[in-house]
């Protein structure tokens, strides 16, 4: 959902362009990279590996 939020920020900034001048700061680029890294982390985590640690009753 965070990538959707990032696009939302971009659209909001474009819409504000008429009222105010907006200079993107370092954080917005960091946020973009964070999304990429997080997507990679989500893709490589195998939930079954975590569930295997939980004992099965019966």
């Amino acid at each position: 959902m965070m990538e959707v939020f990032l696009i939302g920020i971009l659209v909001a900034l474009v819409k504000l362009g008429e009222m105010a001048e907006i200079v993107p700061g370092l954080a917005i680029y960091s946020f973009a990279v964070l999304i990429l890294v997080l997507a990679g982390a989500m893709a490589s985590l195998d939930p079954r590996a975590v569930w295997r640690l939980v004992p099965v009753a019966g």
Binding site: M1, V4, I7, V11, K15, G17, E18, M19, W51, P55
Partner: protein
């Protein structure tokens, strides 16, 4: 080595929806089967899948109308105020940044409509027991499931703008009822896709097989 198609259901087995554990279903009528690992209820198919999806799809279709008719936000800038619906917001965006406008158009206008039609088609085809193009229909389901959240873009835009622009008379942005209807449409279609069980595409017609204690009812 070759693979032979076998369903868990035909072997009286089921995977837990929550933790993915494969369990053997022991015939004990009407008992609530709990996953031995995570204690979630075990169902061989999503419960009441068709009924729930239909209800959510229809509710979303009804709310789609006010979502597009009512304004989603009102911009007050230097004393003059202007209300935007989803469509007029996109038209406005076209003047400044057309690739972004195309993206928002796809996410906010096309995706919800396409999703509603695709889900209705999938539900109808499952109910009629169609055996045609089952691989394609499964892929279609996967796609609708993935693209749904992109419709949230407009909700995020309104949220960010409302929070950022609070300069009183000089400039301020207010959220309008359309945003709530639109958000409801997006959430309902996400739930509708979630409650549809793609395995039904393969179940029906193929095997009117072993009855299950807690699954689909027609």
């Amino acid at each position: 080595v070759s693979a032979a198609a076998v369903t868990a259901r035909s072997l009286s087995m089921a995977t837990c929806h929550d933790c993915g554990l494969l369990v053997r279903l022991v015939p004990a009528a009407h008992a609530r089967v709990a996953c031995p690992r995570c204690r979630a209820a075990i169902h061989s198919r999503k419960q009441d899948s068709l009924r729930r999806s239909w209800a959510l799809v229809l509710a979303a279709a009804v709310l789609y109308v006010p979502a597009n008719v009512f304004p989603i936000m009102t911009t007050t800038y230097l004393g003059s105020s202007e209300s935007d619906t989803i469509l007029s917001g996109i038209l406005y965006l076209f003047k400044y940044d057309w690739p972004l406008a195309v993206l928002v158009f796809v996410a906010s206008v096309l995706v919800p409509v396409v999703k509603l039609f695709v889900l209705a088609y999938l539900l109808l085809s499952v109910q009629s027991g169609s055996r045609k193009r089952r691989v394609d229909r499964t892929k279609l389901y996967r796609i609708t499931e993935t693209i749904g959240r992109w419709s949230m873009v407009d909700i995020y835009v309104v949220t960010i703008l409302v929070a950022l622009v609070r300069l009183g008379e000089l400039a301020s942005i207010r959220a309008e009822p359309g945003a709530i209807f639109f958000g409801a449409v997006v959430v309902l279609t996400i739930f509708a896709a979630e409650s549809f069980d793609p395995r039904l595409i393969w179940d029906r017609a193929a095997e009117r097989g072993p009855q299950e204690p807690d699954g689909e009812s027609q």
